[in-house]
């Protein structure tokens, strides 16, 4: 996006803006199913959320296994309505946008609590390993959960990664070890142990290490001179260790405390440019946090929840070859975050519930650059909700408030901001005998400008307003059982609009780009899915199909050249299919994702057209019960047909890969 006149600082800025600076803070807490008033419990077979007021997709460990997912972002590609932008390989940035809203409008939470990255606004879903996730849940609209934190409730869509909870049952201790080895020297090892410490306490500890060379072959397309090359500088080395203490303080109060450590060092796989062989940018991350969560139900009618967290993330970006004075760029950032949240839920009758939530968050970004603004942002989220839920009808209403205050060490801080946004939802069991529901929702939401939007060198502008978004959605959902066949189907249509989009555009001085509230996007979309699972019998097949249609139109300027053009990286048509079969002898699965043609730029000229692509995979696995332990062996092939494609322009995706996994459960 640099022009010859835009000076070069802009170039550096953009490079840094595009940096995959990883998720900042994580809080482990499970709020998904704490309020189970007359709700259908979620099981692996029933994922469409028949009683949910908005579309939701859930991946359990079985689906993650059947789709050959290594990272959480892999399984999200099978969710309708979600668009994953993937820079390829284990280390390439992976972000998710839902319903044409832009990745920053999708809240990402670990164990129910939102993760924020105030610097870039982008959460890399590639950093979550599929092994650490017990389930991944995408909700595209208001959630039925009344114990949601205020910050989560304010988002138009949310992805919640839930950790694997210890389920000891009668056992005193449970230990699991897993080893994976795959193409391009990808090795990962995981150890997990959980044990009881007294009657009311459980301790869980988990560590996972992943290393990959990532040197996969790809084709650099160049008209008649395309060449076969190997990806370099895409090695990744990660270590994650966490320990959790689950305690039942008394019959009505539970406490969880979790300590978390994550470190990574990796190359940044480069944009493949002609003749430019340089790929030596490096990225380091260190993240630590401690958090605790207390949930109490002091009476029949009242439930209280309190979360607290302190976290720190250090990021270092090094480009050893820059034609500046030093001959390199070495950026170091420290983002710190303190967080406190409280939710109170009151049950007036069996049908009527109300809740109030209040979140406070203090975030601070420091860096080594001489021109760093060192911003601090205090955010307050408040939310009040009511819900009526009978056997056949659910109505929810919520009002969210956000207020921010910012300060900086040098130069002016951004304006303070406050916003009120309403959310409503309804679900009606219209044909009880068939299990057919109608659902509809409306969300009004926003996304705050990131620290980069506001403060980055020439590009940042302090007078930015948040982006505003609204989504109206309606659909049908059906769940039923027919002779040990569990069938669910959903079809949702929506209309979303984002105003005041924050984009980099040429400023007053046309040689200098700057951030502006300029864009307007309207999306008409449709998403549908069918799940069929045989729940009983020796041989249990299952299939899951989904299809997404998205028409995301640029409505910024009716005289402009991009009027009605499709948003970049948003295919109009995309689909996925997974099928697996469980038998007493062996289990098998195959999976397919497909994306239609799309564009790499907001201007839909032929020079930006990206071809359609697909990826096919399959796996075989078997569990063997031995005397003292159980052993699972799994073989997978990812991208079976070795289809070579780029999802993000100039960032090739890996071709065919194999992986072997051995899991031992003691």
């Amino acid at each position: 996006m640099t022009r010859s006149n835009t000076f070069i600082a802009c170039l550096t800025a953009i490079c840094t803006l595009c940096l995959p600076v990883e998720a900042q803070g994580q809080i482990f807490f499970d709020t998904i199913r704490t309020e189970n008033l007359q709700e259908v419990p979620v099981t692996a077979e029933r994922t469409a959320g028949a009683r949910s007021v908005s579309a939701q997709k859930i991946a359990d460990t079985r689906l993650m296994s059947a789709t050959g997912s290594l990272q959480v972002s892999d399984v999200i590609k099978y969710f309708s309505g979600a668009t994953v932008k993937d820079y390829g390989g284990v280390g390439g940035l992976k972000t998710v946008s839902v319903r044409g809203l832009g990745a920053s409008h999708t809240a990402v939470a670990y164990d129910g609590i939102i993760i924020t990255d105030n610097q870039t606004g982008q959460i890399d879903l590639g950093r979550f390993s599929a092994s650490q996730a017990g389930s991944v849940r995408l909700v595209s609209g208001p959630d039925n959960d009344m114990l949601q934190t205020a910050a989560m409730a304010a988002q138009a869509a949310s992805i919640t990664v839930s950790s694997v909870r210890p389920e000891l049952g009668g056992k005193k201790q449970d230990t699991k070890a897993e080893l994976k080895y795959g193409s391009f020297n990808t090795l990962s090892a995981l150890a997990n142990t959980a044990f009881r410490a007294g009657e009311n306490n459980t301790i869980q500890a988990q560590a996972e290490w992943l290393t990959t060379e990532g040197a996969y072959p790809y084709i650099q397309k160049n008209a008649e001179h395309s060449t076969a090359k190997t990806r370099d500088n895409s090695d990744v080395h990660r270590l994650r260790a966490e320990a959790a203490w689950f305690s039942t303080l008394n019959s009505s109060t539970d406490l969880t405390v979790r300590a978390y450590w994550y470190q990574s060092r990796q190359g940044l796989p480069a944009n493949i440019l002609y003749n430019d062989e340089a790929a030596d940018e490096r990225l380091w991350n260190r993240e630590a946090f401690v958090q605790s969560s207390l949930k109490s139900t002091p009476g029949d009618r009242l439930t209280l929840k309190v979360n607290a967290k302190y976290g720190m993330t250090r990021t270092r970006y090094l480009n050893p070859r820059v034609n500046n004075r030093d001959g390199f760029t070495d950026n170091r950032y420290i983002e710190q975050e303190g967080y406190l949240s409280g939710v109170a839920l009151y049950r007036f009758t069996d049908y009527l519930t109300a809740s109030a939530a209040l979140d406070g968050r203090l975030s601070k970004l420091d860096g080594n650059g001489t021109n760093q603004a060192h911003p601090t942002r205090a955010t307050m989220n408040a939310s009040a909700a009511v819900k009526y839920a009978s056997q056949s009808l659910i109505l929810t209403g919520r009002l969210n408030y956000v207020g921010t205050t910012e300060s900086t060490k040098i130069r002016k801080a951004a304006d303070n901001y406050s916003h009120l946004s309403p959310v409503i939802g309804a679900n009606w069991l219209v044909w009880p005998a068939a299990g057919l529901h109608l659902r509809a929702s409306y969300v009004n939401t926003y996304r705050l400008p990131t620290f980069n939007d506001l403060y980055f060198e020439q590009i940042g502008r302090r007078d930015l307003r948040p982006e505003r978004a609204a989504v109206t959605s309606a659909g049908i959902v059906f769940e039923n059982e027919l002779q040990a066949l569990s069938i669910s189907f959903y079809a949702d249509a929506y209309n979303s609009s984002v105003r005041d989009r924050i984009l980099a555009v040429p400023g007053k001085n046309t040689a200098v780009w700057m951030m502006k509230n300029i864009g307007h996007v309207v999306t008409h979309g449709f998403e549908t899915g069918l799940d069929v699972v045989k729940t009983e019998g020796r041989i249990r097949p299952a299939a899951k199909l989904s299809y997404t249609y998205q028409r995301a139109m640029d409505k910024t300027d009716s005289q402009g050249t991009t009027w009605n053009h499709q948003l970049p990286y948003t295919p109009r048509h995309s689909a996925s299919a997974v099928a697996w079969i469980e038998t007493p002898y062996v289990n098998a699965s195959c999976n397919l994702i497909y994306s239609g043609r799309y564009f790499s730029n907001g201007y839909n000229g032929p020079e930006y057209s990206m071809p359609s692509y697909y990826e096919l995979g399959c796996s075989l696995w078997k569990a063997i019960n031995l005397k003292s332990c159980s052993l699972t062996v799994k073989g997978e092939c990812i991208n079976l047909t070795d289809h070579r494609y780029e999802l993000v322009a100039n960032y090739p995706m890996p071709g065919r890969q194999f992986r072997l996994t051995v899991t031992v459960d003691l």
């Binding site: 000076f7 600082a9 070859r321 001085n509």
Partner: protein, 641 residues
């Protein structure tokens, strides 16, 4: 569900895709300009998308040359001709001699193209110690093109060998280069250190190719322009966070003492100078084009465009020196393909050509007819010859360089090296007067109507080093050039202005850094003058005698001095390396063959051609006149079938 279906159907109706076609708006008869055949327009594309393009707009059609690329209709003639893409962020294009030079910044290459065909003759990787240099802007003088690169260097490219032969270190991140008064001026921006830019202009002496001075200017100097004994440089200053803008100045440097003599508070972004005036667009002034009087430093026209035409984002400007038509590249919103606007001298829009490329930044006028053929796979042999029978150069500064002489080489191995170069379409030198090369065509060249074969050199206006062409048929069929030779008469023989059978005898000097003396058959004496650029014997090292005599046709003197410049004028027709390469300028008709008595001869066909340097001029600055030969074509390759 009804609603969903409704939305679905409505959305399907919106599935209208748009394929932008180039559109010419305006009067097509207004396109012709000062005898140019057309313009090449370089578009840099979007940063890190590998999508720089080169378009050719032929003044006879007024539309970009388009073709059907595998990815859709394309106006990128670089890909069309070369079967590959230009790369990422092509910043500058220069037409010098018969060649186009393109600096591709992020891909860090210089592409050298034949202007008449768009064919890439050479891609130079620009790097230092394995790090990409990131070439930015170029200028040319004499035999050299000079490139300034972001890694703080200026590289000299020899236009004959097409190789980088020297590098000089300047300040940080040069962002402009110009040449005047025997010196190069390079603006050291330091722009990659956003908060700590450079603030100097480097002065490089052309003769020694070394930095002789750094002139202090305001911070972050960028565009730089030469105008006789003045150099104008735009300095952007430090970015002002409160104003969200730069506060830029224009400096004027006197080239006599290399000092800033004037600073104007005019926020210029890019300009083009002619006749003491600068047509420019500025920072913060939107699409306004203004005219500055350089002598007074006053803006004499604050809004050049008179008819309300809107230029969204001017991104390049060029004034045709004689017609004074003003060409402006409009980058639109930097994302969609931009357009080229042509204005009459009075500021009204003559025409606009849309969709010529993303971020068009530079245009060059072209005077030779351009034919752009679609890529047909790698051409193995560019020349239609299969043997170099004799390579007998006279002494010259490039002798031993093109082709390269190595210890132990003899006449035979040098001829082999010539064949290798000619087959690749690369250049060989014949040295001074009398030096020659004899080549054999792969097939017999038939004498059909019109031109029968073509020989390319490296001539351009003011740089003609003509050589006479001799032809011979393989009468005895032995494949050797031992048959009668006939001279192809050019304009000078036909007019009786040439000297037949002139002999020059060269003597090898006693040291490599000395002039090479000669005596003519009429008693004249002279020397092939030594210069600092080429520090080797100019006398061919593989000759075993200390003197060597060459006999051939001598053409009238064509070298003279014009101010400080040396000019080598061209003859009307009939010589190699006389006019810039084109089918018209470089082709020969066997019907022009004459025997030793000066009588026309009819030949049905020929097999051999000899090219012999036919001029004897020499000066200390640019060296001797020496014919150069690159590609040799049989124009009737299928006539045998």
């Amino acid at each position: 569900m009804k609603r969903a279906a409704y939305i679905f159907i409505i959305s399907l109706l919106c599935l209208v895709s748009c394929d932008p076609e180039p559109v010419l708006i305006g009067e097509s008869q207004a396109i012709a300009d000062a005898g140019h055949t057309g313009v090449y327009v370089l578009s840099e594309g979007l940063f890190n998308l590998n999508n720089s393009t080169l378009s050719w707009i032929d003044f006879s059609t007024g539309l970009p040359d388009s073709w059907s690329a595998p990815t859709g209709n394309s106006y990128d003639c670089f890909e069309k001709v070369n079967g590959r893409r230009l790369g990422d962020t092509a910043n500058d294009i220069l037409l010098y001699g018969s060649r186009l030079y393109i600096a591709v910044n992020v891909s860090s290459t210089i592409e050298i193209l034949d202007a008449a065909t768009g064919h890439s003759l050479k891609q130079i990787q620009m790097s230092r110690n394995g790090n990409p240099s990131e070439p930015r802007y170029m200028t040319a003088n004499g035999h050299y093109v000079y490139v300034c690169s972001f890694d703080g260097t200026v590289t000299r490219i020899d236009t004959l060998t097409m190789k980088a032969d020297a590098t000089v270190t300047v300040g940080r991140n040069p962002d402009g280069i110009c040449c005047t008064a025997g010196k190069l001026y390079v603006s050291n921006s330091g722009g990659l250190d956003f908060d700590n830019p450079d603030s100097t202009v480097s002065v490089i002496d052309l003769a020694t190719f070394s930095e002789i001075k750094r002139i202090s200017v305001r911070q972050n100097p960028g565009s730089i322009y030469a105008d006789g004994n003045r150099v104008y440089v735009v300095s952007r200053g430090i970015y002002d966070y409160d104003k969200n803008d730069y506060d830029s100045r224009l400096h004027c440097i006197d080239t006599e003492n290399d000092q800033v003599i004037e600073t104007y508070d005019i926020p210029i972004l890019k300009m083009d100078l002619h006749d003491g005036q600068a047509w420019f667009y500025g920072y913060g002034s939107g699409g306004t084009i203004q005219i500055l009087d350089l002598a007074s430093g006053r803006i004499i026209d604050s809004d050049f465009i008179t008819d309300g035409t809107i230029i969204e984002r001017p991104y390049g400007i060029k004034v045709e020196p004689t017609s004074h038509k003003v060409y402006v590249c409009d980058a639109a919103d930097y994302v969609t393909p931009g357009s080229l606007c042509c204005f009459a001298p009075d500021g009204h829009l003559l025409y606009r050509i849309r969709n010529i490329g993303i971020n068009p930044n530079t245009i060059v006028f072209c005077d030779v007819p351009v034919t752009l053929n679609e890529y047909q796979g790698e051409v193995q042999n560019k020349s239609d010859i299969d043997s170099v029978c004799q390579y007998m150069p006279a002494p010259g500064q490039f002798v031993g360089e093109m082709p390269k002489y190595e210890e132990g080489d003899d006449s035979l191995s040098m001829a082999g090296k010539c064949l290798e170069l000619l087959q690749k379409g690369e250049m060989i030198t014949l040295g001074g007067f009398g030096g020659y090369v004899t080549v054999r065509f792969k097939q017999t060249v038939h004498n059909l109507s019109g031109a029968d074969f073509r020989i390319d050199g490296n001539a351009f206006e003011g740089s003609s080093e003509p050589g006479v062409v001799w032809v011979s048929a393989d009468v005895n069929g032995n494949g050797k050039p031992d048959d009668p030779w006939y001279e192809l008469y050019g304009s000078e023989q036909a007019a009786g202005r040439s000297t037949k059978g002139y002999t020059v005898t060269y003597t090898k000097p006693s040291a490599s850094n000395m002039d090479t003396p000669w005596t003519g058959s009429d008693g004249r004496e002279g020397s092939i003058l030594y210069n600092a650029y080429h520090g080797h014997y100019y006398y061919p090292m593989w000759y075993d005698t200390a003197t060597k005599a060459f006999t051939g046709t001598l053409l009238p003197e064509n070298m003279y001095q014009e101010g400080t410049k040396w000019v080598m004028s061209s003859f009307e027709y009939g010589y190699v390396d006389n006019l810039s390469n084109s089918p018209e300028n470089s082709s020969f008709d066997i019907d022009l063959a004459h025997d030793s008595n000066g009588l026309p001869v009819h030949l049905d066909s020929i097999r051999f051609v000899r090219i012999q340097c036919a001029v004897i001029g020499c000066n200390r600055l640019t060296g001797e006149e020496s014919t150069e030969v690159s590609t040799i074509y049989n124009l009737h390759p299928d006539a045998d079938q």
